[in-house]
Amino acid sequence: MLDVNTIRKDFPMLDGKLMSGHPLVYLDNSATTFKPNAVINAINDFYHNYTSNIHRGEYELSQKADTAYDSVRKIVGGFINCDEKEVVFTAGATNGLNIVAYSYGLANLKAGDEILITLAEHASNVLPWFDVAKKTGAVIRYIDLDEEGRLTPAALEKAMTEKVRIVAFAAVTNVLGYIADVKELCRIAHEYGAVTVVDAAQSAAHIHTDVKDWDCDFMAFSSHKMCGPSGVGVLYGKKALLDAMEPFTYGGGSNARFEKDGTVILKETPEKFESGTPDMEGVIGLGAALRYISEVGMENISAHEKALRDYFMNKIADYDNVEVYNPNGDTGIIAFNVKNIFAQDAASYIGSQGIAVRSGNHCAKLLHNVIGVTETIRASFYFYNTFEDADRLAEAIKTCTIENCIGIFF
């Protein structure tokens, strides 16, 4: 059991702030998360005490920055169970997935090859593949989702052919919040020699990540969705794959030397992928976030989110004005609509009650093919949310009438 009240004291954003005149209830954690003091202090410490550029200075400050930055690779390696040499720092999950698409996909796909994705993917795991398919002549195909919108190993098995070269999917989907059986999906893809790309943006902060156990080829996540700063993330790739890839961007820091005749000697993996001065404070902040989350404990986090979800679903069970699209969801994400009210109107009213939720298609613009509606409201719980937060959301839904939605403008 988590001591949520003690945990909340670690987060300045949870110190009793008001929104629209009400105590803030933050339920937009799938969009981004609040940062604990441990993260804020780690970033401040870099700014206050040892600002310098890494890997270039023969002086003590720079060496301190080097140590702080490089140590995060080891922390990430421990967090996702891989060698630190397999950890590429990126600008976020989107950037990581684009590196895979352009550095790996563009070089290895040819006309007629197949890329398998699902209709539940976020834009960042769809659009790079669309573009790479267009450029290489590869074909995009969709793995069927079951009636709830889940990706199952059986469906992947059915979709696999000898032509499939890439299977890309989210470990946890960003609207319905279903946990995929990543290990089994990777096993099936590998039977056909396909490469697996796991979008872990919505999973890394909520369920245990073990890339060795999953046996995935690539995996990407963002720091800001797991209590770290925005603008930084991680791409994991199996060492042999990363070694064989050309970088997606070139510049300083990633090369050992180059000559006027065009000869370039790149550094080793992962440095060869990290051109330019990186987001040093971001990486250092990510390290602090991973340490913090590990202390809270991933099992505790998953269990608390599930408890909040079950409590909330039970609470609204007899409401007849709400439709939930993932009643059997596995994580703290609830996708719903208030009946007969446009999602944005309802979300604005809920917001006017001090509760932050999101409305729209959440960048999963193909999902309407599965759930039958283009816009939903997404409430997403995290480990620092309370049962009172769930009560507040339920109460706002109960009073969400069209008159009240319009009333916020007067």
């Binding site: 446009f342 944005q344 604005s348 729209g360 283009t374 816009e375 008159e403 319009i406 403008f409 007067f410």
Partner: protein
């Protein structure tokens, strides 16, 4: 301006009415109408505005699409306000409307029932909703003017 248009209860009813029973809410295949498809300002609203503009007069204007209360009501009100007006008159109404939504000074008398949307100026995230249909009209007027310049 009518005293009634200062009563928040009345304004709320007007807004609700334009949402539930939007005016000029039916598209046409008539080729005399030009169409603006407004779907790229946000990933939510997706509406089409059509207008028949002849000799600088907006003879008819219509709309339909997927939209929230504010998009629907604001576009419905827009059609009422500019139908039968000259382009110059419509532009003046439009400028006053945009001023109201931006929280600047405006002439209430020009906007009639559309003053019900004044409160949107305090909700930055809904300004796109309140202006999407109006931007559609703006586009259609600009196209009409370009065509006439070419003549």
């Amino acid at each position: 301006m009518s005293e009634l248009l200062k009563d928040p209860m009345v304004l709320r009813e007007i807004l609700l009415d334009h949402y539930e029973y939007p005016h000029n809410h039916k598209l046409t295949d008539n080729p005399a109408f030009k169409e603006a498809h407004m779907s790229s300002e946000s990933c939510i609203d997706d509406i089409r505005v059509q207008a028949k503009i002849t000799d600088g007069i907006i003879e008819d204007v219509r709309f339909d699409g997927r939209a929230c209360t504010i998009s629907t009501a604001s576009t419905s009100m827009m059609t009422d306000l500019v139908k039968g007006k000259t382009i110059a008159e419509a532009k003046e109404i439009m400028n006053n409307y945009f001023a109201m939504i931006d929280g600047r000074e405006f002439d209430e008398n020009m906007l009639e029932e559309a003053v019900a949307l004044q409160g949107v100026s305090k909700q930055a995230n809904r300004i796109k909703c309140a202006t999407i249909g109006w931007h559609g009209l703006e586009k259609l007027i600009a196209e009409s003017e370009e065509e006439n310049d070419g003549k």
